[in-house]
Amino acid sequence: MPVWFELAVTMLAAYGAGIAIGWGLWGRKGADTRRDDTRG
């Protein structure tokens, strides 16, 4: 397994974890905000 592949997989895992955490913290709130924008 080449080094570049291991590095890319590790970085993707970190990216995925970041996306998941971000989605958990702000994803729902962001969706609510967008719904508010459609009013009126």
Partner: protein, 246 residues
């Protein structure tokens, strides 16, 4: 402008993967070089004369999983010690010999009798032997699996292995059952030719009655052989299991 989350996330993933590749290209050699130096010192420390560690894949990309080359005149015990010493270098991943065998995975004797049973079951858990349509001729890839099965069985005495032949449902039922029996017998004879005692092998054919899990009866992948250990019996070590035995 509203950004759609899924394409944005996917684009980010591609960017991250490309970054990993771009970062690794110029830095991997510098990361691998000290590993190679330490591995060579470990090899010399274990008396691995003529052995070198190649820290690259078959395509030449730097890798931290070395392939050990040379040392054909060394004893198995020395080769195992060399591989374990290389694997113990911090940062080094799995170590392989060029012939494909893994020597660093276990510090125990390769032919320990109690492991034989596990080896056979491990081989047969996810793979099966397949045939050409309407024939008891094995596909070439299955010959390799048979070699591995025979190697795993060889150190064992007393194990009874059931060999079951299967077919798809094309053709008549009696013909398919006979064909599946011929296939099971072909495998048994192939194992006997590889040195496995005929007494420990039981062949039977069930035709299309038991399609493989997840397949429809007409699927050609049903043309296969399955093994099952129906009695382990006392596993008696053969001379190859007990170094020094006569």
């Amino acid at each position: 402008m509203r950004i759609r989350p899924v394409p944005a996330i996917l684009a980010g993933a591609v960017l991250v993967a490309a970054s990993g590749y771009a970062i690794a290209l110029p830095t991997a050699a510098g990361f691998i070089e000290p590993l190679a130096r330490q591995a060579q010192a470990a090899i010399a420390g274990e008396g691995g004369h003529g052995v070198s560690a190649r820290f690259a894949t078959s395509t030449g990309a730097p890798s931290r999983h070395p392939v050990l080359v040379g040392g054909g005149n060394l004893s198995e015990a020395t080769r195992a010690r060399v591989a374990q010493a290389v694997a113990a270098v911090p940062g080094v991943g799995g170590v392989f010999w060029r012939n494909g065998s893994i020597r660093a995975g276990s510090g125990q004797d390769r032919y320990e009798p109690l492991h034989c049973q596990d080896d056979v079951e491990g081989l047969l858990r996810s793979r099966s032997i397949r045939f050409e349509e309407g024939s008891n001729r094995m596909l070439p890839a299955s010959e390799l699996l048979l070699d591995e099965v025979a190697d795993a069985l060889r150190p064992c005495l007393g194990a009874i292995i059931s060999i079951t032949g299967h077919t798809d449902n094309s053709g008549t039922e009696p013909g398919n059952t006979a064909l599946s029996m011929q296939r099971a017998q072909a495998v048994r004879e192939a194992l006997v030719r590889r040195g496995i005692p005929r007494d420990g092998l039981r062949a039977k054919g069930v035709g299309p009655a038991r399609p493989a899990e997840g397949l429809t009866p007409e699927d050609p992948a049903n043309r296969r052989i399955e093994f099952a250990v129906i009695r382990t019996g006392p596993l008696t070590p053969t001379p190859v299991d007990t170094p020094g035995a006569h």
